[in-house]
Symmetry: C2
Subunit: 335 residues, 2 copies
């Protein structure tokens, strides 16, 4: 039923029953100084007799701090973002902050307005977005500390990321070492990290005198991975190996390739990015690069709090990816 909302006790109530002023109650609950035995006892008793707790809204009103930060991500169903949120949540609990969660996945149109609205409710924001670099100034104009996933220091916004270029280069060298020569990249152009992964792969191949073949999916999902098999594998020049933009694409791709009668890794090697939990449970298990999703979430939150506390200037921070070799990449079997 709709509760009869018995208004919670206020500081005035406590002050009255303890026979002190509200200022004293405030100082007590905030632990700002010491009190005489007598008043402290009376305060303690009054507070837990009435079951008083401070109203954080009223407190925010005067301090200007909400102890809440926003986490804005693209799609919580993507385990990469799940990891980020998990990490941010953990750090937030440690530091006594709350998380205002927004999944923008379904309508990214009204993003600017939403960020502006959000920013009034929080002390700072962690943002993952596909907004074009040109619009990044939007983030600075929020006049609240922001940690962005992707380069943004040119507009004075702190950023956190994993080194996608070197990650992709690692994958590329690994595939070359296995003897592959026809290596494809199945990208997702709308994603912020697509360009650098593409570039890293290209770096590695060029060193070996090779050029990647390029394909692109229309979303970074399992389903899009399935759908891309036709284009990538059924053309005249089938690649030996396919590097996918992320693990979701890779898992979908691998599954459908097998369904189409193509053996992985015997006929084609497949790899992805992120090292999502399921990468270890597919058949074959998936070679990938751990992009440190959870660590990124933790780091982002930690840095955001430092920005809020004013103990940090904007900068860029990059985590080191880790190559994870599994069964989906192997030397090609000549038939």
């Amino acid at each position: 039923m709709a509760p009869t909302t018995p208004r919670p006790p206020t500081m005035r109530d406590v002050a009255r029953t303890a026979g002190v002023s509200t200022a004293t109650v405030s100082r007590y609950v905030n632990g700002l100084q010491r009190f005489t035995e007598a008043t402290e006892a009376r305060l303690r008793e009054a507070i837990d007799q009435l079951g008083f707790t401070v109203d954080p809204v009223a407190r925010s009103m005067i301090t200007g701090r909400t102890h809440t930060v926003a986490v804005v991500i693209l799609d919580i169903r993507n385990p990469h973002f799940t990891g980020i949120v998990k990490g941010a949540n953990r750090k937030a609990q440690q530091l006594g902050y709350n998380l205002l969660f927004v999944d923008t996945g379904e309508r990214q149109s009204a993003e600017a307005g939403m960020l502006r609205e959000l920013s009034r409710r929080v002390d700072g924001l962690i943002v993952s977005s596909r907004m074009p670099d040109a619009d990044l100034s939007t983030l600075r104009d929020l006049d609240k500390p922001v940690v962005f996933f992707g380069r943004a220091s040119q507009v004075g916004v702190h950023s956190v990321s994993a080194d996608g270029r070197s990650a992709a280069a690692m994958l590329g060298r690994h595939l070359i070492d296995l003897g592959h020569r026809r290596i494809a990249y199945l990208g997702y152009g709308a994603a912020r990290w697509d360009a650098e992964r593409k570039a890293g792969l290209t770096d590695a191949l060029r060193e070996a005198g090779l050029e990647p073949m390029f394909f692109s999916a229309d979303s970074p999902t399992l389903e899009a991975g399935e759908k891309s098999v036709g284009e990538v594998l059924m053309g005249s020049a089938r690649p030996d190996a396919v590097v996918c933009y992320n693990d979701m694409l890779a898992l979908g791709f691998m599954k459908q390739a097998q369904a189409a009668g193509v053996r992985v890794p015997e006929q084609v090697s497949v790899a992805g990015f992120d090292d999502i939990p399921f990468a270890r449970f597919s058949t074959p298990t998936l070679t990938t690069v751990d992009m440190q999703s959870e660590a990124m979430g933790e780091l982002a939150l930690e840095r955001l709090i430092e920005l809020i506390d004013g103990t940090l200037d904007a900068s860029e921070e990059m985590l080191k990816p880790r190559l994870v070799l599994r069964q989906s990449t192997a030397a090609k079997v000549r038939t």
Copy 2:
């Protein structure tokens, strides 16, 4: 850098530049009445000249509404909860509400205190918890509307769920129809839904004059599924089919069973609950029951808002699960 926080314009600022009173500004931004052409024009201009937006904190102070609801879940890495959050997020955006997200996974000890603290920042809460039924009154004592995932109407708390008992019975009958007789349940006792799934499976088996074999995992995860294979399959009496508490357990179990040389479904059928996205991409694809995670999230949020608005009384609501047949269950091959 830490922004120099130029205080945002207030209603007083708008009132002054528009030459009206703050009350008029308030009425205008809340669209409560009509104005003369002249004042409306001056208001409009003053507002977007100053870039004024109302301070939601100050507004909450007076209205007692934060337009924020808490979503408290056990582990965002479990796709079941991911779905719930996705659904809740969608509905929240539609209804103009914000989501305060909490993943309690790592420390569920301080839960009661956390809920109490949270409740002061929000208009209502959506809660998934392993708290014992005896502690459910905690939720009512928050004096804020709550929607709980699981039966709780005995303490006057609205609840939403999917019918696990009939879901499990459906799976049971399916396995019996396939000719299986030695059917096992790999449960996870700490989970709220474990008992009813167990009961539903037992219902179905008893109708056929059978009794399930019981095993239990120590967490509802991929890893725990892997670890359970030894106990379940390597005993003296190997089951024909294994129903797992959820898809995560099932996928982990299936993978490790295969690694141990047991063929699925030829030697043992495997099924789970939730129909997580990856269930369609494992090898073999996983038979499961769609427990409507996303719909549960949407429904929970919708009902919560109704409770907040006082247009709904506490009750229990149950969604209908849907059996999803895939490759992991099949008639056993006699060898």
